[in-house]
């Protein structure tokens, strides 16, 4: 958690007073860009900055040319960079290694020598923002002419690590307004958001400590405690992630820049579709706009719609982490969403009856949604086999 480091406290103590006290746009821009560069370099290191810088320069240049071919090539380069840094080990060791077990160790050993120990910091966010930018430029949106404005969009420090995934059409006007004028109201609202995020993080970190301790002993818990474990796990994910988003939004606001909301009370959703409109909104709308709709969305019949949804959610899961369980979690949500959107048509009168019941008793729909999401968190956090066993244990029995 980069915002909870003392280095960051010192960083913020230097950056904000400079930004607030000099009401000159050019100086503010210089302060903001320097802060972004320092923040990114400190946490990513030179090896993490270089690939992002190369991709950013290519993206900026492609945007300027507005050439569909060049933009497509750079989109491909961004995606390949993401695959190379984040997924090579998984694809070769887990996928190819699953085919020939003896390759697994040798591939793992070779890759360990060839690849950096960790992918460049937040490469997933960078790539998604660059792809969005180029795709929209290809569709006719204006490109960003100023390299400084593009730089600020690309490495805006509050949103580097955990989003929200920015849309440049929204970001640029907000950012220009922030450079022009940041008022006490912005700072106060930002501070409150940061404080809310901090409180969420404190609770989430306590839950993390508890879950880390009890996770390996899940089998030994009694059934009620296992359900309590699921409740804590779900709460922890929400508070951790939305807390981080709150802080990012708050810190941006303290620059006078309004970022889009990323969470809107997702655990109050009454169905999965609504849940995904409230959970990590910037990511789910990105996937909708740049994967689901280009695949055909809901326009090509129910089967294709279901397959498109599954593909989009598989990608969503895989984006969260290069592992089988993240992929499975994405597919699990895709299946849930498909069921949610088709059960009425597929089950005929029974489906209609169910839908009427859910409308009459929204608490039931809400509880089922929460249950589905909560159980899905097991898949997200634990290897698939173990998470399936944990799901079984929720119904009773012992682990042995």
């Amino acid at each position: 958690m980069l915002f909870l480091t003392y280095w960051f406290v010192l960083f913020a103590c230097v950056v904000y007073p400079l930004y607030w006290l000099v009401p000159v746009r050019a100086v503010r821009l210089a302060v903001l860009l320097s802060a972004c560069a320092v923040f990114h370099t400190h946490f990513a290191g030179p090896a993490g900055v270089l690939p992002i810088a190369v991709l950013a320069v290519l993206t900026y240049a492609a945007g300027l040319t507005r050439s569909r071919t060049f933009c497509s090539l750079v989109i491909a380069a961004c995606v390949l960079a993401l695959v190379f840094y984040k997924y090579t080990t998984f694809l070769l060791v887990e996928v190819v290694g699953a085919v020939r077990l003896e390759w697994r160790d040798s591939l793992g050993g070779h890759l360990h020598d060839l690849l950096p120990s960790a992918p460049p910091l937040a490469i997933s966010f960078f790539v998604f923002e660059f792809v969005h930018y180029l795709a929209d430029v290809c569709r006719g949106s204006p490109s960003i002419k100023s390299p400084l404005h593009f730089g600020a969009y690309a490495i805006f420090w509050p949103s580097i690590v955990a989003g929200p995934v920015k849309r440049y059409q929204d970001f640029l006007p907000a950012y220009k307004r922030g450079l022009k004028r940041v008022c006490a109201h912005d700072v106060a609202v930002g501070l409150v958001r940061v404080a809310v995020g901090l409180v969420k993080k404190v609770v989430a970190d306590n839950l993390t400590a508890w879950l880390t301790y009890w996770g390996p002993h899940f089998d030994k818990l009694d059934v009620l405690w296992r359900w309590y474990f699921i409740a804590c796990l779900s709460t922890r994910v929400l508070l951790d992630f939305s807390g981080y988003s709150d802080m990012a939004i708050g810190f941006a606001r303290m620059h006078g820049i309004v970022l889009a909301e990323n969470f809107r009370w997702p655990y109050l959703a009454r169905d999965l579709a609504s849940f995904w409109q409230r959970w990590h909104i910037s990511l789910s709308t990105w996937i909708r706009d740049y994967v689901y709709i280009p695949l055909g969305g809901s326009r090509c019949g129910p089967v294709r719609k279901a397959l498109n949804g599954l593909a989009a959610f598989a990608l969503c899961g895989f984006w969260h982490g290069a592992s089988w369980n993240c992929l499975a979690w994405g597919i699990y949500n895709g299946i849930g969403l498909t069921i949610c959107s088709t059960y009425r048509r597929l089950l005929g009168r029974v489906g209609d009856g169910l839908a009427t019941r859910f409308e009459r008793y929204p608490q039931v729909a809400w509880a089922l949604t929460l249950l589905y999401v909560g159980i899905g968190m097991l898949i997200f956090f634990y290897p698939v086999e173990r998470s399936l066993r944990m799901m079984g244990l929720l119904l009773g029995g012992t682990g042995s």
């Binding site: 006007p173 609202v189 400590a209 309004v258 970022l259």
Partner: protein, 408 residues
């Protein structure tokens, strides 16, 4: 502003200037509260930092808290005795009534005031020694008693200690409480080079640089001790939120180790003991024609303790339970004895006082392989007290010929 942005209720109703003023005032008030509260002793009937109020349960006593504890315990007119070191000095396996420091206080009498700053796992010159270094300014009549394992070939740790307790040294350093010590500075520079890529080391430095003038950890420690714990940790499990003052000292009086346990421990402990003896052989009996190599223990003591503190320091060299020594061959036992002697000599060469209190201890004085029973703690105090009194006389803390009332 973002076109789609619709201010929420909080945002609409927020009055920015009163809020910002409130934030600044509250922040300054918290800093001031931390500073003021850190200067008051918050610990009720302090005996020692047991594990429910030390780093094991994520409670990190600050330098200010130790200073205020010292103010309540010590009297500038009397000799201040700080006990540092590991669980043996802490009194592991004894309740507060029967811990080593109680017996030492009883032995030394009223002219001395003993404060137990030992912690399980503490290195010889960590927490307690750091505290002694900054407390010696206010209490010049100060003696540090700490302990170490046998072995001139084993160093006494880094000057800033292990990661768990390094914060204390760094905090004292950031607040300018430590003495000048060129040997230590040189070693710290080496360590800094080695840790350049360790984010946790850099983070600790930044933390203490921020906390130094702001005292937020002092505030939080007092709050946690008196009102509410905010961090879950497993040892506190079901009652983790309770204030730390609610927890009594958890150590209970352990009986002497029985023979069946001793036998069961032999399998794991004897190979370690033999390895320890063999590892120290080059520093005790070098191969024919070879000189004694430079002694890591001597070097590390010089790098850990500044000169003025060395002469005020007594290091007890703790032996293991005699039962295990009896399982060794006579040659191994002989080498062990020589190793103990070499350890004492290495410490004395480094400029500290050293004592081997284990000669008078028998198997019934041990609760396990190394920890002492209440009776063992009493015997060790009987051995250490005359040495402490002798140091006090030599350092001019008490008049020559006055041994203090002590134990007759």
């Amino acid at each position: 502003m973002n076109e789609s942005h619709r201010p929420g209720l909080l945002e609409r109703s927020l009055a920015p200037w009163p809020l910002l003023l409130g934030v600044v005032t509250a922040f300054l008030a918290c800093c001031l509260a931390g500073r003021v509260l850190g200067r008051r002793n918050c610990f009720d009937r302090f005996d020692r930092f047991h594990y429910l109020m030390d780093y094991i349960t994520l409670y990190y006593p600050t330098t200010s808290q130790v200073q205020s504890l010292a103010r309540e315990t010590f009297d500038p007119a009397k000799v201040a005795v700080i006990v540092g070191g590991n669980s043996i000095m802490y009194g592991g396996g004894s309740d507060p009534e029967h811990m080593f420091t109680r017996y030492l206080q009883a032995e030394l009498g009223d002219e001395y005031r003993v404060l137990n700053l030992a912690m399980p796992g503490e290195m010889p010159f960590e927490f307690g020694a750091t505290a002694a270094e900054f407390l010696v300014r206010d209490y010049p009549k100060l003696i540090l008693v700490t302990n170490t394992w046998i072995g001139p070939g084993t160093d006494a740790g880094d000057p800033d200690g292990r990661p768990e307790l390094r914060y204390f040294f760094e905090e004292a350093r950031a607040r300018g409480l430590l003495m000048d010590c060129p040997e230590r500075e040189a070693r710290l520079r080496e360590l800094e080079q080695q840790r350049q890529k360790d984010p946790s080391a850099l983070e600790l430095k930044a933390q203490l640089r921020v906390d130094g003038p702001l005292y937020f950890r002092d505030l939080w420690n007092v709050f946690t001790y008196q009102h509410l714990t905010t961090v879950w940790c497993n040892p506190l499990a079901g009652s983790w939120w309770r204030p730390r003052r609610d927890y009594p000292d958890p150590d209970k009086l352990a009986p002497p180790v029985d023979e069946a346990t001793q036998r069961s421990l032999c399998g794991t402990y004897l190979p370690q003991l033999r390895a320890q003896i063999e590892g120290n052989r080059p520093y005790v009996r070098p191969a024919p024609g070879q000189a004694l190599p430079p002694c890591p223990l001597e070097r590390s003591v010089k790098a850990c303790l500044p000169g003025p503190l060395r002469e005020r320091t007594l290091v007890l060299v703790n032996r293991c339970c005699p039962y295990f020594l009896e399982q060794l061959t006579p040659q191994e036992r002989g080498l062990y004895g020589e190793t103990v002697l070499a350890t004492v000599q290495a410490l004395e060469r480094a400029g500290v006082n050293a004592l081997d209190p284990g000669r008078s201890l028998s198997t019934r004085h041990y609760g396990d392989v190394v920890h002492l029973t209440a009776e063992g703690g009493r015997r060790m105090a009987e051995e250490a007290a005359p040495k402490v009194r002798e140091m006090a006389r030599r350092l001019g803390y008490v008049a020559q010929g006055r041994a203090g009332p002590g134990r007759k």
